[in-house]
């Protein structure tokens, strides 16, 4: 993995960073690169409440905020920003407002790498709207000044339409941190963790691949 000057990660939900990107984040932190994570919402509309439920609609945001901070601590993210949008409403906001906020962060941080969702290939409307705003913000910069943009995609048609990911990171060296970051989002990942721990024990190839490799599509303007 190349050493970066500064990494900026922009996602709409606490836990978006955990599955596909936390190993990459931990690897950058290990190389001494500062990582800023801008998380747009607190996942207020999440459906996982624990079973039996330990959270409700009104307590969930605060629980997820704590989980997000814990995940950031585990990964060594030095700069966590919560932008105060509301879950499931990002696509209805004025896109120019979000683009301006992202532009301001890019101006301030001067990142060499930005990570977000690939618009149109990321399933959740908040993911697509976030990715679209980041793509627009960077697109407004003169070509020579643009940071690299690595996008996460996971829609069923993403490989058919985008081709295979052009960036694949082996993050097995920091798999423990990744596991802890996923675990930090306890309210949302409790059910899945049990299966994952079992898969790890059995060295299930699918679980191992999910933990050890993270893939990105470089956005080309």
């Amino acid at each position: 993995m190349e050493k970066e000057r500064q990494v900026l990660v922009v996602f709409p939900h606490p836990d978006d960073e955990a599955f596909g990107v936390s190993g990459t984040i931990a690897s950058h932190v290990n190389m001494g690169t500062p990582v800023t994570y801008a998380c747009l919402t607190l996942g207020e509309m999440g459906r996982n409440m624990g079973n039996p439920p330990f959270a409700n609609r009104e307590t969930l945001p605060n629980i997820r905020k704590k989980e997000l901070k814990e995940a950031a601590r585990v990964l060594g993210i030095s700069d966590l920003r919560m932008l105060g949008y509301r879950d499931k409403t990002v696509e209805f906001e004025d896109p120019n407002k979000l683009i301006a906020e992202i532009t301001a962060m890019i101006d301030e941080l001067n990142p060499s790498l930005v990570i977000t969702f690939y618009p149109g290939y990321s399933v959740h409307p908040d993911h697509d709207a976030t990715g679209a705003a980041v793509v627009s913000a960077i697109g407004k910069l003169p070509a020579a000044k643009r940071p690299k943009l690595h996008c996460v995609a996971f829609s069923n048609n993403c490989v058919d339409e985008l081709g295979e990911a052009d960036v694949v990171h082996d993050v097995s060296a920091v798999a423990d941190k990744k596991f802890d970051a996923i675990k930090a989002h306890q309210s949302q990942t409790q059910l899945m963790m049990a299966g994952m721990a079992e898969g790890l024990k059995q060295q299930d190839p699918e679980v191992m691949a999910r933990l050890n490799y993270e893939r990105f599509w470089t956005y080309k303007y």
Binding site: M45, N56, T59
Partner: protein
């Protein structure tokens, strides 16, 4: 939250009768339903902080439960309610969780706006 106790919930609903209250009403299959099963038609709706006054409220069913609030020109209705909580702010929080424990419906009533 606790499994619904119809008497407690009915008592709490009755206490808000004829008062100006704020409603959070939501149904959801989750944003991933159609991703996991392309034959699944995902639908949902949500309304946060509608201000209403109801003249009667009733919880019925054998569980999961249904709740209807009669308002001057219509109704507010939710079905699939499994759990309730009267929180420290005196708000009635009702939710329906599916077989995996995921939230599928919520109806919440408060005398002050939800934040």
């Amino acid at each position: 939250m606790d499994p619904v106790n119809v008497n407690y919930v009915q008592e709490a609903l009755d206490a808000f009768t004829d008062k100006e209250v704020y409603i959070h009403l939501e149904t959801t299959n989750g944003a991933y339903a159609s991703h996991h099963n392309e034959r699944f038609f995902s639908a949902g709706a949500y309304f946060r902080n509608a201000k209403i006054t109801y003249e009667r409220a009733k919880m019925t069913g054998a569980g999961p439960y249904r709740v209807g609030l009669k308002i001057p020109y219509g109704w507010v209705y939710a079905e699939g309610i499994t759990h309730y909580e009267i929180d420290s702010k005196g708000r009635i929080l009702l939710a329906g969780h599916d077989f995996d424990g995921k939230l599928a419906v919520a109806l919440q009533i408060s005398e002050t706006p939800f934040e």
